[in-house]
Amino acid sequence: MKKLTENLGAKITVIILSFIAFAAALVSVITVIFLLDCDGYTKTRDEIRTDIMENRIGNGHIYNILEVYGNGESVENYCDDQRIYYTIEDYTNGGVIEGNYTGQSFIVQKRQLNLTTYEDRAYEDENGDMQWTSIERSPISITVYIPREALSGNGQLLLNVVDTAYTLRYAVIWILGVSALVLVVLLCYLYAAQSHRKGGVVALNHLDRVPFDLLTAAVIAIALLSASLIDAVVYSGDLFSIVILAVVLSADYFVALGYTLSFAARLKTHTLLKNNIIYKLWSVAAKGVKKLFGWVKYLFKNIPTVAKTAIITSAVALFQFIIIAIFTYYPAERTLLLFLFTALDTAVIISLSILLKRIKEGGEKIAAGDLEYKIDTKYMHGDFKDFAESLNNINEGLSVAINEKMKSERFKTELITNVSHDIKTPLTSIINYVDLIKKEKPENENIKEYIDVLDRQSSHLKKLIEDLMEASKASTGNLAVNLSVCEAGVLLSQTVGEFDERLKAAGLTPVVSIPETPVKIMADGRHLWRVFDNLMNNICKYSQVGTRVYLNVSERDGKAQITFRNISKYELNITGEELTERFVRGDKSRNTEGSGLGLSIAKSLTELQGGELKIDIDGDLFKVTLTFDTVQREVN
């Protein structure tokens, strides 16, 4: 099958065969139509003959005679020329006016009754000028008798055609059916094989490259031309016109075949739509329009929102003004329309403000830390939608970041807690066995000294681990905080009491100042004590011997301040901020005891309770300030 579709010779043969089939079908169709027209399937051959003769030949003679008679020329001469016989009678009384028929044999007789003729007469009008007028003669009847020998070539031909058609009147139907079938089959093959070339290539020929709409226009022009040609020759009925008809129809067949084959080829290569002048023009135009539209959109997007709003609002107002100006004549109409437009504008503005409100509320929720909140972008467009989506995206990003951070902090705390637990067990053994060795009372003085080192360092290690755990918990907020109303003064006095002996041992004198009226703050007593404890520990460790330590509680403008001031034993070449970092100590050498976590823990714990810890260093003066909001008096 493939091969057959690619064979050029086969194609040409099929085209010729199809033309023959087409011609056969066409002739059969015409014959059938002709036969139907003259009742060829119901009447006998002679009846048809008579009909044809009467209608085609007899009528022609009668009208010629009428014309000749009307012009007052000799009818007899005309009839002698044509070798026919005639009789003209008066229609009203039946009397014979003239005629040469005297009973000769004929094959066709045609009689036409009640025919009117006119006589042109000149007359003189009232001005004496000559005028012409037509005067109706009395009606006549004409009868023509046509003998066989009077039939002309055309007449003979027609008779032969009628005879042949009548003989073949059933065969043509078969011919029509078969040729139509053959034609359909052959055309199907042609359409299927169209544009398949040797080697399975689908290719277009020159015709297929012509724009389809142009081709269509050409085909329509040819069709119109042939229609007018056919129209011009179809009634003359002579041999010449039949030849022309055949040529034209054949040409039309090839044009139609070429056109439809090209159509098939275009369908196959999907070029039917694209290869059109109109399509090409349209696509160029569409591209231009799209580009223009894109440009306008880009321009609009880059116009500042306020300007955009101004432009749209002015355009709407202008439009409304124009509408009012064009379509209204009366003040009442104008007022009504103005009212309608105002209502419309108000509705639009209100709906926009609702969207704005939605975004605003979403923004507030997000700002307040509701990371699960999503702004509903339903009914939002343009800038509103962009804005709402940006906010939603910020929210998503934030909540992802925060979750990650929380996860990692929790992991850190867990790790530190677990490691601390694991260190504590061996450390217990170390401390216990150091203690046991001590109890053995070693003789060697060196061993005693070494054991003291072990004892001191293992205690230090213990403290370090405890601080580390606390620092990690405090800094990650992994600590239960139960805020209650606390008296800062009471805590300070308790702290001083607790440290009484250690301060004395360090040679320090506390100077405590607590106001008479209790200073109440919201804090967790136990955590706040840990803050004070750490700060006092530092003071005992790092204060210059023999100096005073100033401890203060004060209240001003709804803020409670607790200050710890002391004179440092060491030179402080470090800032207050650096000191609160983990593992940072005033002495870079790290020779002293302590974990370097005390201030960091104090700061974290203070912040957990909503307070603030600030360190000021002024020469050797070391000052820590804790600031909390005071609880208002109404709490009693």
Binding site: S420, H421, K424, T425, L427, T428, S429, I430, I431, N432, Y433, D435, L436, K462, E466, M469, C486, E487, A488, G489, V490, L491, L492, S493, Q494, T495, V496, G497, E498, D500, E501, P510, V512, I514, A523, G525, R526, L528, W529
Partner: protein, 240 residues
């Protein structure tokens, strides 16, 4: 120390053998007879099979942990149990005490403190008859602290502790109002008489001394508690 008590049997249970050995040395030096176990199941079996008077037990152990063993122990015995734990979280302590432990010591512990707590628990359990005690007429008793107002004496675990008159008055005031938080100002007013006028820290100093005398671990008191930023209080009676 040096006092040779009756031969009490103490079970020491920890999966860390070095710790068990160390505790054994310390407690044997005090004259106790030591049984050892290395997980919860062994501890329960040891208590079932022997006449144990006190159990020192770790919480984190393989096979059967201290809390589970504690529950099983309480089904068969009401001997004092002191938990040893590396967990220093408050919730862990509360859990331990809730399932029936009498006391706890956090690792790394001080041997002296462990011995003191063992002694305290044994004394209460053996001599005071496991918590059955009558309220003395002339004073107050809270846990193993006994205050006699008439003789002006204070006994902790049956041993007399010597207090200064001020300390005695403070203790009496707190025991009288056990369970109540008293601010330094109130304490000062009631003990010293008159306004504190900036002398509140004196109260704290005295209470600290008092704590050192009556508590085994003054930094983690069982009875005389500091309620930071509010005041001080005596725990009300014994737990349960």
């Amino acid at each position: 120390m040096g006092e040779v008590g009756e031969m009490y049997n103490i079970l020491v249970c920890d999966d860390e053998r070095d710790i068990v050995s160390a505790l054994k040395i310390y407690l044997e030096a005090e004259g106790y007879c030591i049984y050892t176990a290395y997980n919860g199941n062994e501890a329960v079996r040891a208590v079932e099979e022997n006449d144990i008077h006190l159990v020192l037990m770790d919480i984190m152990m393989p096979e059967c942990d201290g809390i589970t063993a504690m529950v099983k122990l309480r089904e068969i015995s009401n001997i004092p149990v002191i938990l040893l734990t590396a967990k220093s979280e408050d919730t862990d302590k509360i859990l331990g005490l809730n399932v029936g432990a009498d006391d706890y010591v956090t690792k790394p512990f001080n041997p002296v403190e462990v011995i003191a707590r063992v002694k305290s628990q044994l004394r209460r359990y053996m001599t005071l008859g496991g918590g059955h005690k009558a309220e003395p007429e002339n004073g107050y008793t809270i846990g193993n602290i006994e205050l006699n107002d008439k003789s002006k004496q204070v006994f902790v675990d049956g041993e007399e502790v010597s207090l200064t008159p001020t300390e005695f008055e403070i203790l009496k005031l707190l025991m009288k109002n056990a369970g109540e938080v008293l601010s330094p100002k109130e304490i000062y007013k009631k003990v010293w008489g008159g306004e504190a006028l900036g002398a509140e820290s004196t109260v704290a100093v005295h209470i600290r001394h008092l704590r050192e005398k009556i508590e085994i671990n003054p930094a983690d008191p069982r009875y005389l508690k500091v309620v930071w930023a509010h005041g001080h209080k005596m725990e009300k009676g014994d737990k349960k």
